[in-house]
């Protein structure tokens, strides 16, 4: 049984149908990359897997380890092993970064019937992981993402990922805003976590991250569907060919039911 299975997912926000029959399978320990034009539905897919309440799933199913996620709240999904690294992590002044992370970790552990982590062990863990992604020790004690630079926020997402240890890490454009060193650190950490069995769904526009952290499979997402999948080399091809061909196809085949398609 695959770790993540998405069958024919149709989902909308408000009046807009964003995902239009999307299917995807990720085995445990695999790395999948999702590429596609702006507005194709990549972030939407990520948020729907994590349980964002603004989206309505009209049909299809999302399962993690064989269990459907659809009737579960975001916190239940987190405890089951879903982690979403946000494209734009929000700033939350007044909520302390470390305090929040420990509360979150312990909430997940409680739900899974595991023992809670004590404060000193947690602090050690958080400090080690912060050092690995090059986050300043002073920064992690501040309010959550409050006044963090774009790159610092992304590093903070990686810190949370490493501490929370999910089964599936969905990283939505984790590479945007990262400097060269940070990108290398992120790739290195991701590779380490993968070696420990974590699966990845990487949403990205560029090859930089994929060169450093090669995926097993690359999917092309256009108009709310996966229109093509291939090996890591596909990412390189896309760099030269672009999405034009896929978009054209999509318009031809999907025009009738999808008049609002972005081209």
């Amino acid at each position: 049984m695959a770790l993540l299975e998405i069958d024919n997912l149709v989902a909308s926000i408000g009046e807009t149908e964003v995902l239009r029959g999307l299917s995807l399978k990720v085995e445990a320990g695999e790395v999948h990359a999702i590429m596609g034009p702006n507005g194709a539905g990549k972030s939407t897919l990520s948020k729907i897997i994590a349980g964002h309440p603004d989206y309505t799933v009209k049909s299809g199913d999302i399962r993690l380890g064989g269990e459907t996620l659809l009737n579960k709240s975001p916190d239940e999904r987190a405890a089951l092993g879903v982690f979403l690294g946000f494209q734009d992590p929000v700033e939350i002044p007044g909520v302390n970064n470390l305090y929040f992370l420990r509360t979150a970790l312990n909430a997940q552990r409680r739900r899974r019937g595991e023992a809670e982590i004590d404060a000193p062990s947690f602090l050690r863990l958080a400090k080690d992981e912060a050092a690995r992604v090059g986050l300043d020790a002073g920064l992690i004690k501040r309010a959550l993402n409050d006044g963090f630079s774009g790159g610092e926020r992304k590093r903070n997402e990686m810190l949370q990922l490493a501490v929370l240890q999910p089964k599936l890490a969905i990283l939505d454009e984790i590479d945007s805003g990262l400097d060269i060193d940070a990108l290398a650190a992120v790739a290195q950490n991701a590779a380490r976590l993968r070696a420990e069995g974590m699966s990845f769904l990487l949403v990205t526009h560029y090859n930089r991250l994929l060169d450093a952290f090669p995926p097993d499979i690359v999917h092309v997402l256009v108009g709310g569907r996966i229109v093509h999948s291939g090996p890591a080399a596909l990412a390189k091809e896309l760099e030269t060919s672009g999405y034009h061909a896929w978009s054209q196809l999509e318009v031809q085949s999907g025009a009738a039911q999808a008049p609002s398609l972005h081209v």
Partner: protein, 426 residues
Amino acid sequence: MTSMNQSHALREDLAAAASGLNWPSRKQEAWRRSPVSSIKERFSLKQQNEAAIVSLHEHPPWVGEAWVGHVLKSAPQSEEPCMGQEGAIRLLWLGSSPLVVERLQSAENSAEVTSGGASALSVRERPESVTAILAKLHTRETLRMRVSAGCALELPVELLVTGASAQEQSSGTHFVCEVGAGACLTLVERCVGNISESRSMLLEFHLGEGAQVEHLRESSPADGGYLLSEVEVNVGAGASYRSVLFARQGRYQRHDVTLNLQGEGAKADFASVVVADSDSQAEVQVKVHATAPQTHSSMCHRAVVKDRGDVGFTGTVAVTGSAPGAEAHQSAKALLLNEGAVAFVKPELFIETDEVACSHGATIGALDAAARFYLMSRGLERAVAEALLIRACLLEPLTGRTSPAARWLAALVEAELGGNIDDAVC
């Protein structure tokens, strides 16, 4: 009649009496600044016959237990010494019964209180430092407290106002606090109702040159209780008045605060943190009058409103021509947790000089859904995520401070939010 029946009857009487007092209705209050003078008259504040006692060095220091007057059993249990410090001085105001001063040494002491006729008592913290004064007081009399020049009180003084009397359905308290030049005082004022009541408070502060006052206020009338509170502060040259008001529940509470920055370099910082649910209404009106050069003031208001709660805030800054170089900042934020909750925020500026730096910002809105999803996506239950966001909003005025005031506020807010927040280390 059993005492339970008695207290029940008393409660009913008080509730009936309070509702007959012409409190502003919800509809009237929608216009804000509803007149409350008729109510104030009934409370007859500022009595002529001042029963204040001031007295210090002459009396021997009172060590350990020291009480005057009535049985303390009717007082709320003095659970915790205020701000967690043993030895804090507590001024207890029990409806129309005599005022009691208690030094919190140990909890056992408070059990064996005898009623007595002593009319005055002075407590000295240390031979060289004057501490607090107290009097046998009845409602509608004035309590005056003086802190002599240069005297830095290390421990907070607590003014506890509670309950109401059977004889008088409503009661008024007039408290005058004079803080001499260079003196320091932390006053913790707790207005906590244990039975339905209506109560009025008038507090006056006079800060001499360079004096520093921290005024922490907890205003928590009983369910259905009414509270009208007025604070007037005169801040002398180089003096600083800092106040945090935590207000919650009650049927109606209104806080009028006037901060007169009269001396050069006078400073006032005011923060109000209000929580209202069910049918609670709370109104905070703060006025800063800067009449001397180089003054500084800040106001910070945070409210969380749910059910049919209603919270208003008006922040007025008036800078006269004689006050160049004034700095005045204001920020107000209200979180509405459901439809039907009401918040009102209004900044007012009257500036008569060019040389000023003023800022204000106001927002009213729902909980940030993106922030909530972010927290939940990491594994926090919805209730916990919301409690964290509410807490962050309410504690914002003191964010980053590690002072006793910040800890005091954090404890109150956490108690209010219930069990959703564990060992906070924010």
